[in-house]
């Protein structure tokens, strides 16, 4: 059961990722990104990290994907036909994939089955965030504020 779910999710995710990377129609490609992210969130559910999966769907699909499609909408005048296919990019991507896969397969200590693990409850995540990771939490808050103000400043029109 586990392996059927894994197979289905991985096929869907990789197919959607390929669609997002290569489709000519801008909107279709941009709408495949939420599909990829939902696939990755399903992987997280399979691996037992439900909170992270839900946070991913919430943040990425609910906000970042909408932002991306909005920006594509607002910047539509500059769309031209892509001049042909860039073989260099494909070769580099295939080389990276080949290199990574080779090194993964060479490391035999990684061919292990999932051990029995205690379920990570949201309460445990909250406790860890507030005790061990409180400094990163505050820094991320500061960073998000800075990003918010920065993005607003970048997009605001100058007053005449």
């Amino acid at each position: 059961m586990n392996s059927i779910a894994f197979l289905v999710i991985s096929v869907l995710t990789l197919a959607a990722a390929l669609a997002a990377a290569t489709l000519r129609n801008l909107m279709h490609a941009a709408l495949c990104l939420p599909l990829v992210l939902v696939g990755v969130a399903s992987f997280f559910f399979l691996l037992g990290a439900e909170f992270v999966g839900l946070a991913l769907v919430f943040i990425y699909v609910g906000a970042v994907a909408v932002l991306i499609v909005f920006t594509i909408l607002l910047t539509r005048r500059g769309v031209e036909k892509d001049p042909g296919f860039h073989w260099m990019g494909v070769i580099i991507a295939l080389a990276v994939f080949g290199g990574l896969t080779w090194s993964i397969l060479q490391t035999h200590s990684l061919s292990i089955v999932p051990p029995h693990i205690r379920a990570l409850t949201v309460r445990k995540i909250g406790e860890t965030l507030m005790t061990g990771y409180v400094w990163p939490l505050q820094c991320v808050g500061l960073l998000l504020t800075a990003a918010l103000i920065g993005a607003l400043v970048l997009v605001m029109e100058e007053k005449r």
Partner: protein, 104 residues
């Protein structure tokens, strides 16, 4: 065939290289950002896979890093898209091969 750690890592590597493909072959600035988002998602998948397959005791480090990584990448996507809009206002195009002057 229960999925081993190697299988998860290979899937994550595949997603990473597809994101790299998108970032390298696309000419539209926003699609480069989409490629970057896919690469970040692949890296998060890597972290969570390693957390899951860890020997006891299982510290929640992988999950914590993934949570912070998601938050930071959302901020980076927002700022990146703001920059794309600002550059579009100047150049009237989003084709990155036409961004060739540093003077405003």
């Amino acid at each position: 065939m229960t999925p081993t750690l190697q299988l998860f890592l290979i899937i994550s590597a595949a997603l990473f290289s597809i994101g790299l493909l998108a970032a390298l072959t696309r000419r539209h600035a926003i699609f480069i950002l989409i490629g970057i988002e896919m690469m970040l998602a692949a890296a998060n998948l890597n972290f969570i896979a390693f957390w899951r397959f860890a020997p006891p005791p299982h510290p929640p480090t992988g999950v914590m890093i993934a949570i912070f990584s998601i938050a930071i990448s959302a901020a980076e996507a927002a700022v990146g898209l703001a920059m794309v809009i600002a550059v579009y206002r100047h150049y009237r195009t989003t084709n990155v091969s036409q961004f060739d002057q540093l003077k405003g």
